[in-house]
């Protein structure tokens, strides 16, 4: 039994370790969470990137070659992500898109850097990721400090004085909450509440009751859409009408489904613009193709940002006529300017961060639609 198992094991190891000899297609890696708690994001990322790759292939491919997407599952877990990155690095990919969570991306960063592979993260907003001076790391999502700045501006412009900040103790939400708190502390406002909920639960009555005793003018929730939707619904049930403002993790149509139109109305959130609000041809075509292929609209904004990651990589390969990492990175750092993305214009600074004012403020209307304000 044992030896049989061992034979099978070594057999599979041998079979998998030798990559296919066909060198022809241009391979682009996608590292995303296909299992685990963030599987929904991973599925969206995969669908969007595969759709875009099909489009490129239907239009004759890239440099006359076919584009092939190599997928690695990071399970939303640092250890698995490090393995997925090692695996990706052996697959001769020209560049890698992903991944979602900041600490997951961090586990893979050095592996790609040492393998000289360009990495374009899509959902990893933690500030420190681009402060390490890695030459081949980029991200299509803005950073926490950028969003914190916009959030604080929005809160102050609305004239709120007693502000409650609620996060969920994930890297992303805590990072954003900390940034916002840092900026608000310098202003003439009171932070009456700063605490975390436990994500993944159903009943947030306790936290709502507790916040209510502090009587805030507004609640800034930096966590994700399921909790935001549940809280909107439960606060209406309790007859509490404090306004909520969310971060870009609440930008998901499911928010309204969970909360119901009535409870969601008036909710505001910050987010890069969704493709439906962009006047560009690329965005329109993408939306049509997505709806035709999957019969729904894209879910979270971060999956769309993975699509933008794919598109900037393709653009870099096209413009430099090569898959050379250094050439592509130089192009992305220095030459790409005003590239028309699915989430607005894209350009990168020397750190690999996206530049320009990305954030918009959205509001949920009575019909449950996300409406761009301003």
């Amino acid at each position: 039994m044992k030896r049989l198992l061992f034979l099978i094991l070594t057999g599979i190891v041998a079979a998998t370790a030798n990559p296919a000899l066909a060198q022809d297609p241009i391979k682009i890696g996608l590292m995303c969470p296909l299992t685990g708690s963030w599987a929904a994001e991973g599925k969206d990322m995969k669908q969007i990137v595969e759709l875009l790759a099909d489009q490129v292939n239907n239009e004759g491919g890239l440099l006359g070659k076919e584009v092939k997407i190599v997928i690695g599952d990071d399970s939303g877990d640092p250890r698995t992500a490090a393995l997925a990155a090692q695996r990706m690095a052996t697959r001769e990919v020209a560049a890698v898109i992903g991944t979602y969570g900041s600490s997951i991306t961090e586990a893979s960063q050095n592996i790609y850097a040492s393998a000289n592979i360009i990495q374009v993260a899509n959902g990893s907003t933690a500030v420190r990721l681009t402060e390490k001076g890695l030459p081949y790391f980029f991200r299509t999502c803005p950073r926490d400090d950028e969003q914190g700045r916009v959030a604080v501006k929005t809160l102050l412009d609305s004239g709120y004085e007693n502000i409650a900040i609620l996060h969920d103790n994930t890297t992303y939400a805590k990072g954003l909450a900390d940034e916002a708190k840092k900026l608000l502390d310098q202003k003439e406002v009171n932070i009456v509440f700063f605490d975390a909920l436990t994500p993944g639960e159903q009943d947030y009555g306790t936290i709502l009751s507790k916040m209510k005793t502090k009587d805030p003018d507004v609640v800034f929730f930096t966590g994700y859409y399921p909790e935001a939707g549940l809280m909107l619904r439960q606060k209406m049930e309790k007859g509490w009408d404090v306004p909520f403002i969310g971060g870009d993790a609440t930008n998901n149509p499911d928010l309204v489904k969970i909360a119901g139109n009535k409870a969601a109305e008036g909710f505001r959130f910050l987010s890069p613009p969704v493709p439906g609000d962009l006047p560009t041809k690329e965005a329109r075509e993408f939306l049509e193709a997505y709806e035709a292929a999957y019969h729904t609209t894209p879910g979270s904004i971060w999956a769309v940002l993975a699509g933008d990651g794919f598109r900037v990589i393709v653009e870099a390969i096209k413009q430099t006529q090569s898959t050379d990492t250094q050439k592509m990175a130089d192009y992305l750092h220095n030459e790409m300017e005003g590239f028309s993305g699915l989430t607005g214009d894209i350009a990168f600074n020397q750190k690999g961060d996206r530049i320009g004012d990305v954030y918009r403020v959205y509001r949920v209307d009575a019909g449950g639609n996300f409406v761009l304000t301003e």
């Binding site: 490090a82 695996r87 586990a107 994930t170």
Partner: protein
Amino acid sequence: MKPAAGQIRKTAYAAIILLWMVAPLFIGKYWTDVLNNVAIYAVLGLSLNIILGYGGMFHMGHAAFYAVGAYTTAIVNTAWGVPVLWLMPAAGLAAGLFALVVARPIIHLRGDYLLIVTIGMVEIVRIALINNVFGITGGANGIFGISSPSVFGFQVNSIVAPAHYFYLVTAFLAITIVLFYLLENSRFGRALKFLCSDEVAAQGSGINTAGYKLAAFVIGAVWAGMTGTLYASKMGFISPESFSFWESVVMFMIVILGGSGNIAGVLLGAALIIGLPEIFQGLQQYRLLIFGLALMIMMIFRPQGILPPKPRSYPIDKLEKNEVSF
């Protein structure tokens, strides 16, 4: 018949050891790194085996000790720049002390009550880490910038060269196997197994059951803490999600699936539990489903674990010649 079987087993072990040692030369970085993970979890499994396999205590919170070791390493290394391998004893000590404090009051709990208490312990540790307890754990972000280990001035960077790290972790695994083998066959190991199979009788024979149980806990924790050093220096950064309750479950499954109380079984368990999900990577979103099924099927066909320990025998002729000692 018997010597032949023993001979085959020895040859098989030798072959596996040889294959393991030369494997990084042939299998590339990715699979080498998979083996690194297998080795780390093998050590963790062996350390849990002392508590769960020999001691028979239902302990599903081993990741807590692992976390204490990893965080001790990370904090001291990033704050004062102490080389990581020097921190191994400190990490082990911290985890051991932690185990001593928490295990003392709960050691007398039976079976499933101990199980839930250890689950509670690992959850409390994780929540404490997330909430940046004492302001030193970095909260949900964790701690980054941990240096890679250096052996006599040679930098062992697992990211650039997983094979270098492979030999480091293999050395630690080998030391662990030897020490735990000696422990298993010592007076301490026998007493532990005895109280595991029948606590009342063990107490009646004058074994200080609470003391032995506590000792088993502390030894297991020390070892898990030292493994935490290896993990922290391998990844270069650590965050609380690496020490969740599920990690404890993984270690638990390694011991039970492989063969609780048997070193070779635990090693095989680590290879299966850590290796199979990687082998199934090609299945993408189906891989965990298949893994779960494999787990159930293996357990049903080998209910004692894949390699259960052999019952200990004391042949009478050897006893008379004093070849077997108590």
